[in-house]
Symmetry: C2
Subunit: 167 residues, 2 copies
DNA sequence: CAAAACTAGTTGACATCGTCCATTACATTT
DNA sequence: AAATGTAATGGACGATGTCAACTAGTTTTG
């Protein structure tokens, strides 16, 4: 479909002139490399806020805030992470006094997660910052932004659901 | 713009019913979490091929193949990575006999990178596999896929260029 | 020509992350 | 009561990205 300029090779000195080969039309490449840029940007905005570094903390903060009593495994699934990884994230957040873990009343294996006062406050701060992170994509129009979000959101939910159904 | 259902909280047991709060309309969230899923998928496809794990190896392979004599710092910029990180990636590829490093004839500080025979062969294999990775997004139509790629590609190049221009 | 400033690449230290595996505790099924 | 399955924890491991310090070569400046 796309223009496959697969012919000549040439040495380059500046990134601007680089040819990415197949990667030029590969969504996963852009997701993977933009992930680095986006994470750096978010980390900078969240600097000093107890939730910097990693997608897990922010996701956990919002999910617990929105669904008090939620269990760790649900957060793991939504963040596309391992249960043990989320466990460690929660350890850190508990240590920082953001999260409280209680045994679930119905199921003894399960933990129920709640935000502390500090957690609620932080969630509000972070919510504002996350909204501001839209600025990183300042050269996209609102409709373009909404378009990409819609398409990626669909993929996201398909994957999340397919992993919750089976294995 | 988007439906902000910011009111009620409720406990959930399944991921399917989860409300992501602001993240639901946040591009960086989907990029960050899809990055994990996409990387897992690619790693599985590349299993055993000397380039599994990490975006760096694949990017380096294609860039060197396309631009023989390219320098490490250009690859670093294109992969949105640190120069030192790329250096380590190249160490590994050199150890695996995929890449050759030569001193640049014009500038003594600079290295010129080339693929070995094995590198060329691998690049061809990986090119095919990367094309197949389109299957991961099988529930997107070709036009939707092209749409997202176009939009993300623009952002990608803006960031790459802005980082090459200044600091 | 000499000193200063800059650039390319390497190296080591460090924190984080994701994965794998074993273990404990509890539930549900039979 | 026994077996199977699920929730969470903990340790070990490898890979990754970042930062700062260092070497070496180049360009600029006076």
């Amino acid at each position: 479909m796309a223009a496959e300029s697969h012919a000549k090779q040439s040495t380059v000195t500046r990134v601007d002139d680089v040819d990415l080969d197949v990667l030029e039309d590969t969504l996963s490449f852009f997701i993977r490399s933009l992930n680095l840029a986006v994470s750096r940007d978010l980390d900078a905005r969240l600097d000093g806020l107890d939730v910097a570094r990693g997608t897990g903390k922010v996701t956990a903060l919002f999910l617990i805030g929105r669904h008090p009593g939620i269990r760790p495994s649900v957060i793991a699934a939504a963040a596309m992470m391992d249960r043990s990884a989320i466990g460690r994230v929660l350890d850190g957040m508990e240590r920082h006094g953001l999260v409280r873990r209680e045994p679930d009343s119905e199921d003894g294996r399960v933990q129920a997660l709640f935000l502390t006062e500090a957690g609620e406050t932080l969630a509000a701060e972070v919510r504002a910052i996350v909204r501001e992170s839209r600025a990183f994509f300042h050269d996209m129009s609102d409709s373009e932004y909404a378009q990409v979000v819609d398409l990626l959101r669909n993929i996201y939910w398909r994957i999340v659901k397919s992993h919750s159904g089976r294995g």
